[in-house]
Amino acid sequence: QQPVQSPQAVILREGEDAVINCSSSKALYSVHWYRQKHGEAPVFLMILLKGGEQKGHEKISASFNEKKQQSSLYLTASQLSYSGTYFCGTALVGSNYKLTFGKGTLLTVNP
């Protein structure tokens, strides 16, 4: 039931865009996105509820495709500060909202 994230790692130059995907084999109620820098705690980015909504946060936005049970995180015009590991946490329909996290996507932004 662990969501599958792709890619596992991505390297960008400052200003480039990236997309990180999070897929589930079961029906999702919500998807939560976090960013974690090395040695620090995960930091909340955004939450998406079923209904296919899209949210934005500065130059970071996300979508939730309910039919595909997939969420995508979009990072545009990346900055050095975007470097870190991105995790999605998914709550299945009927799971009492407990989150299961993917293994993470390591994003490195170089000058």
């Binding site: 946490g89 909202y97 407990k98 989150l99 299961t100 293994k103």
Partner: protein, 112 residues
């Protein structure tokens, strides 16, 4: 930043000894969680609490117990630590069951 502290922040112990980790919050959130984070596995839920004295198991609860006698404190106990429990432990809190979870700074535990 959400008011969450964890203690200790680092601990080294020996196999077979009991260990208790503490999570303290000042946000008065109802839900509290314990996760462990290991390379290649991401974050995995150990136990969670939905109120004082109300707890439930997560996906990796074997070898762990929890207690919550006050809203602000959630304790994680390893009754007899094993090397497989070497990990980074994160506490998280949320207002409601499906709400945003905010993470504490983590505790790095090494079991020799």
């Amino acid at each position: 930043d959400a008011g969450i502290t964890q203690s200790p922040r680092h601990k080294v112990t020996e196999t077979g000894t009991p260990v208790t980790l503490r999570c303290h919050q000042t946000e008065n959130h109802r839900y509290m969680y314990w996760y462990r984070q290991d390379p290649g596995h991401g974050l995995r839920l150990i136990h969670y609490s939905y109120g004082v004295k109300d707890t439930d198991k997560g996906e990796v609860s074997d070898g762990y117990s929890v207690s919550r006698s006050k809203t602000e404190d959630f304790l994680l106990t390893l009754e007899s630590a094993t090397s497989s429990q070497t990990s980074v432990y994160f506490c998280a809190i949320s207002e409601g069951s499906g709400d945003t979870q905010y993470f504490g700074p983590g505790t790095r535990l090494t079991v020799l």
